[in-house]
Symmetry: C2
Subunit: 314 residues, 2 copies
Amino acid sequence: LTEQGVDEFALIQRYFQRPAQPTVALGIGDDAALIDPPAGHQLAICTDTLVAGRHFAPDAAGFDIGWKSLAVNLSDLAAMGAKPQSALLALTLPEADASWLKAFSEGFFALAEAHGVALIGGDTTRGPLSITVTAIGMVPSGRALRRDGARVGDMVCVTGTLGDAAAALSGIDSVAMAMRLHRPEPRVAAGALLREHASAAIDVSDGLLADLGHVCAASNVGADLRDDLLPASEALLAAVPDAGIRLRHQLGGDDYELCLCLPPDNVTAAIEALAAVGVPLHVIGRVAAEPGVRLRTADGTLMPQAHSGYKHFE
Amino acid sequence: LTEQGVDEFALIQRYFQRPAQPTVALGIGDDAALIDPPAGHQLAICTDTLVAGRHFAPDAAGFDIGWKSLAVNLSDLAAMGAKPQSALLALTLPEADASWLKAFSEGFFALAEAHGVALIGGDTTRGPLSITVTAIGMVPSGRALRRDGARVGDMVCVTGTLGDAAAALSGIDSVAMAMRLHRPEPRVAAGALLREHASAAIDVSDGLLADLGHVCAASNVGADLRDDLLPASEALLAAVPDAGIRLRHQLGGDDYELCLCLPPDNVTAAIEALAAVGVPLHVIGRVAAEPGVRLRTADGTLMPQAHSGYKHFE
């Protein structure tokens, strides 16, 4: 229901103004927010847009859209090993629908509060439904996980499992998979722990091969992956017994897991560190000198790569 | 012309990758950018969205849209007295049109380079044309110009002139006014100088009465303005001889001037400081105890307020 006569400022106050947070010097309500950077830290900052009909169905639940619009950004911070601190929300809406805004804000803040993220600013405007979140995190200076640190001989690893989101998107009816698609849990704790162990990191949002390809390009290396090592959830194994179809889902993207390169000597310690926060870490391949990302079967046969990931303008 | 097969990454690289800037630790191309905060400073951060058909005509020049998408954010930083440092660009496009992207990026970088702003990250996605820029600036700790510092007895001032943008939007044919509408010059230098003099500041984007109203509400004060003191450009005076119509334009918004409150003893010094950077500063009224913003004629008669500014969801 559109509320007549409720202006932007009243709407923002009603649904998006929360108590001030001590880490933020000045939050919502001025021309800009002010942040006191903690000593010895760098700020990590990223922005991602979700567009109705492209990143979510036009009739998707407001709660899920709110959650995911922040989650995709916290996933980027996690891939840097940064601790999320605050966010700005640019919300473009066809109408000021109070019940939708309530649900959206509840989803957004459910995830924000779980990670201690303060909403410090934003913009509300009328137009086709679209959400751009900017997230800000802190990372000890010089310790961020970057894409350009992979070295030949590193092991390629991935957190959690791959393929649930793409399987849900393909229409497979599973509550567990739908949750992975609509309310992804960014790997924030894992990313921070992996600063001690990994040489490079990226989040798997556009598909494993495309995202690992970015790491390889930035690091001037390549990678060889083994298809039988790609981790799948119990739900995916049960719902998609065909290994070929399952693989397509596993390469499909939207998983918001972390893909990492680690020196071989660090793998055991990293697996143990992540086990302590309940996040599995799987070795899926190895960094090589030859450029490009190759997927092979267990006997070494090169697999054709039908899915190189989500390209926004193809 | 849409280029087939040109993916997001190639487009971003072609038009948006510029040489690294020393103030930015890690720019475009990773999961997040990294910033080294300078000692003794706070970060000011803001975000604003421009939507096609709402904030600019669907057939507006790409150069102007690029310029203005950054300008509206630098204007917010100026209103905090912050020095712009970097920006993120979330670009939603119906198609990957290389000539439009070239023009857009030229407009964006023309303003960015004039203010030493590095593009450090962003997102490109397909959808209805919309641009969200997040701008980051630096301000000496505790010295930002806020909305909540106005005191009863302060003088209300405004930089530059008011009304050219609204007049251009109303269809008056003037190159000078069109430039004010499409390529506003954010008052960055003036904002930094005014940190020494002003008690409160806001940028006049939604209209003088609405924006000053935000300052008054945040400061628990009110304001009395004099209609005959509102500054108008020579172009506006010549094109709109009717004072009543001119006033409507002057209250119309989109001017990206700064509205300030200053203790009376600081006004002369502020005018002199801004004159040194070529920015006029005009006294237009006074801060009062009674809440609300009132516009009066020179003889004190209260004027009816037909235009209380741009409200995004009315």
